[in-house]
Amino acid sequence: MVNVIADQPAAPVRRATEGPWRTAWRKLKRDRSALAAFGVLVVIVIASLAAPLYARYVSGTDPFVTNLNGEIVVDGTTQPVLQPSTEGLGLGTTPIGPTWRLGPYLLGADNQGRDVAARLLYGGRDSLLIAGAAAVLCLVLATFLGVVSGFFGGLVDIGLSRILDVLWAFPIFLLAISLSIVLIAQSIWIGPFEIRSGSLWLPVFIIGIVYVPYVARPIRGHVLTLMQAEFVTAAIGLGASPWRILWRDIMPNVVTRIIVFVPLILALNMMTESSLSFLSIGVQPPDASWGTIIQDGQGLLYSRPIVALAPGLAIVITVLALNILGDGVRDALDPKSSPRGV
């Protein structure tokens, strides 16, 4: 009953209200752990991209060539890279352990005499590239499917949802494994493109596809909710065309969700890729990824554990950083949280 319509503002406003992107950016800048995580990721990416430089200037050996008879100089004495084993029955050889010195075999050698540290960097490159490419594929496809499904509804929605459901009913892992095994053995053709077996595109394709339902369903749900929202109804009432509603009302809201998904999907992809590579059905030799190196290190687990430990640790650090960043991004984009946290 009391009607207080503002004809004139009572007091001057201090500053223009800031848009949601500015607020998010401001919040993110204040989030120290997210910034630290981002820094760690940058370091990891740079180090991985610098792999060829490392191999050339620091370790000196080609990490993809076996070096069974190599020798290196440690503390003035020359030692063979693969030494007679002192464990168990004394048969076989044990690779040299970490020298902890910047130079050849910083982290020691694997059972083929290759420099572990150099392989670690190359492996990082492959792991990161695959995770990134698969994430792009997944997000693009999932957004497309989710938005189309939610926006158009009806038969399109039902059809797409059923497909996604069946895809999702497959335990992700089994689906990835199945596809990998079938496709790894020979090349496949997608339209005019041939993906050769052993190409890195295969894991990208498989990992990208497998997580599509995981992202598509929430996006579809979000789009459905948005379609019911009053501001969309208002836009329709004002006579806006479907395209306009899609681009100006729906997509900006969906973009927020997608951004939150980016670090998450990257982390999931890395875990999946390493698992597949560990099982020998992801990245194929001669390429190396952190997962394959762990696999390499399995046989050496009790005698030279660093070969398996180092890449695993690398994965933990990278995925942890991605998760922390993911949390930070999500908190920053949440309109309800304050810049101070809590």
Partner: protein
Amino acid sequence: MLAALGFRLGQMVLVMFGISIVAFLIFFATPGADPSARIAGRNASQETLLQVRHDFGLDRPLPVQYGLMMNRLFISRDLTSFVNRGQLVVPTVTEAIPVTLSLVGGAAVLWVLGGLVVGVIAGATRGSFVDRALMILSLVGVSVPVFWLGEVANLLTQSRWHDTWLFSWVPPLGYVPLTEDPWGWFKALIIPWFTLATLYVGLYGRVLRASLIEMMQEDFIRTARAKGIGERRVLLHHGLRTSLVAFVTMFGLDFGALVGGGALLTEVVFGLQGVGKLTYEALQTLDLPMILATVIYAAFFVVMANFIVDVVFVFIDPRARDVR
């Protein structure tokens, strides 16, 4: 309500059917993939290939192949392995089920309890040091690849610290049937249980904490506080009880996926001959009938888990009972 259940059941059967078709197609009909070539081995002669095709019915049209496979799988259950000639597929799978169930079941108990404790304590002490510490630990738990953690566990318990009092009791890798030796069964599974549970405790702890915090902002929590019943009761009886819905849903799905073979990495690393390991070995040797059997079994479990989750959901959330 019965009509709704019946509908769900029907849907389940349809999805199962769809999955069996997809599985069949992936393995038997991928363009460029010729099962007979794999079975016969490399460089097999044309006659051998033809012979193999005929023996295994691979020269029949696809739908017929599908029908035959399904028949051998479910009805006559005499499907034999392509690789280990003569090995009956179905009994092998059924023998592997208790192993997987033991592994996943035990881990599930650990991770549910762990997740509840972590989630509730972190949610209740929001912003405190305890909360932050728990969340960091959870985050680490989620970031560790389970197979690597298993390797590290093995390194410590089987090799490095095996001779110390800490881990001398750890038996060599492998499964001990419960019926044979309960204590041995337990000892063999403890380390795998903790390894598998780590990831999920982290995940569930975080989800529960977030859910609880969101729930505690709701109006009905304010009403509950105004009743003067004590904060602990408000948190548990009102906050947690309402958050449980999401928790249970997640659990049902994860449990189903794991039992269906998602635990294969853990099984491989610890040498437990469960369904996951079976699947993996079958995949490596491209033992198609075995693959088909395990994949369908896996999917069945997932779908079954979905169904059970739906049913349980109706019981724990009264709002769901009337909407149907």
